[in-house]
C-alpha cells in the first residue's frame, strides 16, 4: 500500500487519471500534484506517484527530468523565476539577474539560507510586453527595476 503520499494527493492523481483514455497520460500532472503539496518531488514521492499511475519509477523519472517546472531538489518557500529570453534581455534582464543574485546572496539553482527563496532562470513567461519580467510563486511581476525587485521581495515572508 502506498504510504508515502497523502490521501489528498492520491485522490487528486486518480482524478487526473480519469480524464484520459490511458492513465499514463496523468504522469506529468501527478508530478505537478506532488509538487504542489510538497514544493518538490523526492525520489520516494516519485516512486509512490508512479505506483498510483501504474508506470515504472524509471518511466516517471524520464518524464520528471524532461520538464523544466518539475523540481527534483528541495526549493525554498518561494521560487523566483526570472525570464532570460529575448524581450526581457533587451529591456534589462542582465541587470535584474545580477541584482537578484547579489541581494539574495545566491546563484541560480540555489536557495537562501533562511529557505525563503530559490532563484531560477526561465524562458519567456508570456509577459514580454512588460519586460524585464519574473514570477515569484504564481505571481507575475513586470517592468522590473532593482528598486521594484526589492519592494516585491519584501512582500514574501
Amino acid at each position: 500500500m502506498n504510504t508515502v503520499l497523502s490521501d489528498a494527493e492520491i485522490e487528486e492523481i486518480r482524478h487526473e487519471m480519469a480524464l484520459y483514455e490511458d492513465p499514463q497520460a496523468a504522469t506529468i500532472e501527478a508530478l505537478n500534484v506532488v509538487q504542489n503539496h510538497r514544493g518538490w518531488v523526492s525520489d520516494e514521492a516519485l516512486a509512490a506517484a508512479a505506483e498510483v499511475i501504474g508506470v515504472t519509477p524509471t518511466q516517471m523519472e524520464a518524464v520528471a527530468t524532461f520538464y523544466n517546472l518539475i523540481f527534483r531538489h528541495p526549493v525554498g518557500r518561494h521560487v523566483i523565476m526570472i525570464c532570460d529570453s529575448i524581450s526581457c534581455y533587451l529591456t534589462g534582464y542582465e541587470e535584474m539577474r545580477d541584482h537578484l543574485k547579489s541581494s539574495l546572496g545566491i546563484d541560480f539553482g540555489q536557495t537562501t539560507p533562511d529557505n525563503r527563496f530559490t532563484l531560477l532562470p526561465i524562458c519567456c513567461l508570456g509577459n514580454c510586453g512588460n519586460g524585464p519580467a519574473m514570477r515569484v510563486g504564481n505571481d507575475y511581476h513586470g517592468n522590473l527595476t532593482p528598486e521594484t525587485i526589492d519592494k516585491i521581495l519584501a512582500d514574501y515572508a
Partner: protein, 443 residues
C-alpha cells in the same frame, strides 16, 4: 477598426463570465452550428473565410479540418474517441498573445473549441496549457464548468446529438511541447519528443486516434466567422488573408503590448501603434513574429504583416508578435540570447540539433566576449545549412537558424568585426605548410 477577438477584453483582463458573455452574443454561434450546420459545412465556412493558423506555420484551418476522417454515415466504424487539441503552450520567446485571449475572455475559447470539435467530429477536447499560465488555468476551468452547467458542453450539447467533454491539461514547461506531434507525446504523459509524420495527427494522433491540433488564436476566430459569415471575415483583412490579427511588440518600442488590427497592416503602421522606437532612437531590426522568425530591417517597414507579405520579405509572420531592437543593440547579443534558448530547449532527439545548437551558442558567446577566431563566421554559416529545413527531425533546429541566417546576411560585417585580428587559427584548419609536411613524410 472593429475589434473581433478582443471585443470582450478589458485592460484588467476581468473576463465576462457566462451571463455577461451570453448577453454580448456569446454561444450564439455554437447554437447556430449544432442546430443548422452539418459538421463539414462548418469547415467549408472556415475555409471560405480564409482563416490560416496563428500558431506559427500558417496552415489553412478549414483544409486541416478536412483531413479528419468522417464517420457520420458509418457510425459503427467510429473510433472510440476523436480528439480536438488546443495548442496553448506559447513558449516562443517574444510571444504573449494567447495568454491575453485565455485570461481576458475564456468563454470565447471554450465556445470556439466546442464549434471546432463539432466540425471535426471530436467528442473530447484538451486545452494543452503551459505550466506557468496558472491564471489562464483557473479562468478556463471556471468557464468550462459554467458552460457544462448551461448545457453548452457535456452529453447532448443543447439537446443535439453532439456530445463533448473539455479538459485543461497543465504542462510542465518545455518549448518543444508546442510542436504538434511532441505535444501529443506530452499529452500522453511521455517525454515531449516529436513523432514522424506521416502518419499525420488526423490519421493517428492522440492515443492513436484522429486528432486536430490548433492554436488558441486560430480557433478563437471561428465563432465570429459563423456569426458574421466568411465574406465578412475575408473583408476584414487588407490583402489576401482574412480577418484580424492580434499583433504585439516588445523590446525597444515606446509602448509595448498587444493590439488587434486587420491582418496585413504594414509593419511601419504597427510600430506607430506601439509609439515607435523608445527614447527617440532609430530602428535597427526586428523579429516579426517571435524568436524563430528571420530578422527584418528598416528596409522592410512597408511589408504588410500577413503570410505572403512577410514571406516575400524573407521571413515569416509566425505568431505576429514582433521583437524590436533599437540602433544601439549589438546583434551578437541578440543572436546569443536566442540561440541559448534554442540550445537549452532542444529535446535532444537528433544529433545535429542536440550538439549543433550548443556549438552555435558557444561561438556567439566567444564572439561577444572578444574571443572569436578566424573561421567562426564560416562555422556559423555551416550550421545554418546543417541545421536547416529537412536536416533534423522537427522544425525546432530550422527555427533556431532563422534569426541566425538572417543575422549573418544583414549584419555580417558587424559580426566579423568582433573577431580580433591576432593571427589565431582554428586548431582543425589545415596547417599552412601541409604540402611540405606531406612531402616530408613521403620521403
Amino acid at each position: 477598426m472593429e475589434k473581433v477577438l478582443t471585443q470582450n477584453i478589458n485592460d484588467q483582463r476581468e473576463p465576462k463570465w457566462l451571463s455577461d458573455y451570453e448577453a454580448a452574443g456569446g454561444y450564439r454561434a455554437l447554437k447556430t452550428v449544432v442546430n443548422d450546420y452539418q459538421p463539414t459545412e462548418v469547415g467549408e465556412c472556415v475555409k471560405k473565410a480564409g482563416l490560416r493558423g496563428r500558431g506559427g506555420a500558417g496552415f489553412p484551418t478549414g483544409v486541416k479540418w478536412s483531413f479528419m476522417p468522417r464517420f457520420e454515415d458509418k457510425p459503427d466504424e467510429r473510433p472510440a474517441h476523436i480528439y480536438m487539441v488546443v495548442n496553448a503552450d506559447e513558449m516562443e520567446p517574444g510571444t504573449f498573445k494567447d495568454r491575453l485571449l485565455m485570461e481576458g475572455d475564456p468563454h470565447q475559447l471554450v465556445e470556439a473549441v466546442a464549434i471546432a470539435s463539432y466540425a471535426i467530429g471530436a467528442d473530447i477536447a484538451y486545452i494543452f496549457l503551459r505550466g506557468e499560465y496558472t491564471e489562464s488555468r483557473w479562468k478556463l476551468e471556471k468557464a468550462i464548468a459554467e458552460a457544462e452547467e448551461a448545457g453548452y458542453l457535456g452529453d447532448h450539447v443543447l439537446d443535439s446529438n453532439f456530445s463533448l467533454t473539455m479538459y485543461v491539461h497543465m504542462s510542465a514547461g518545455r518549448y518543444i511541447c508546442g510542436e504538434e506531434s511532441a505535444l501529443l507525446s506530452a499529452l500522453e504523459g511521455r517525454r515531449a519528443v516529436p513523432r514522424h509524420k506521416p502518419p499525420f495527427p488526423a490519421a493517428s494522433g492522440l492515443f492513436g486516434q484522429p486528432t486536430t491540433v490548433n492554436n488558441v488564436e486560430t480557433v478563437c476566430n471561428v465563432p465570429h466567422i459563423i456569426n458574421n459569415g466568411p465574406e465578412w471575415y475575408q473583408s476584414l483583412g487588407l490583402n489576401k488573408d482574412g480577418g484580424t490579427k492580434l499583433y504585439g511588440a516588445s523590446g525597444h518600442v515606446a509602448n509595448p503590448g498587444l493590439v488587434e488590427l486587420p491582418i496585413g497592416t504594414p509593419i511601419r503602421e504597427l510600430l506607430d501603434h506601439f509609439g515607435g522606437i523608445r527614447n527617440g532612437r532609430a530602428l535597427k531590426a526586428l523579429l516579426p513574429g517571435g524568436g524563430s522568425t528571420p530578422i527584418l530591417t528598416p528596409d522592410h517597414l512597408d511589408t504588410p504583416m500577413d503570410y505572403e507579405g512577410v514571406g516575400a520579405a524573407g521571413s515569416r509572420l509566425g505568431t505576429g508578435t514582433m521583437v524590436v531592437f533599437d540602433e544601439q543593440t549589438p546583434i551578437v547579443g541578440v543572436l546569443k540570447n536566442l540561440e541559448h534558448f534554442y540550445a537549452q530547449e532542444s529535446c535532444g532527439w537528433c544529433t545535429p540539433c542536440r550538439d549543433g545548437l550548443p556549438w552555435v551558442e558557444r561561438i556567439l558567446t566567444n564572439l561577444e566576449a572578444g574571443q572569436g577566431r578566424p573561421g567562426d563566421i564560416e562555422l556559423l554559416d555551416m550550421h545554418t545549412k546543417l541545421l536547416g529545413p529537412g536536416k533534423t527531425f522537427c522544425a525546432h533546429a530550422p527555427g533556431a537558424m532563422g534569426p541566425l541566417e538572417s543575422g549573418l546576411k544583414y549584419f555580417r560585417d558587424e559580426l566579423s568585426a568582433l573577431i580580433p585580428d591576432n593571427g589565431d587559427t582554428l586548431a582543425f584548419h589545415e596547417p599552412a605548410n601541409a604540402e611540405s609536411h606531406q612531402a616530408t613524410t613521403q620521403t
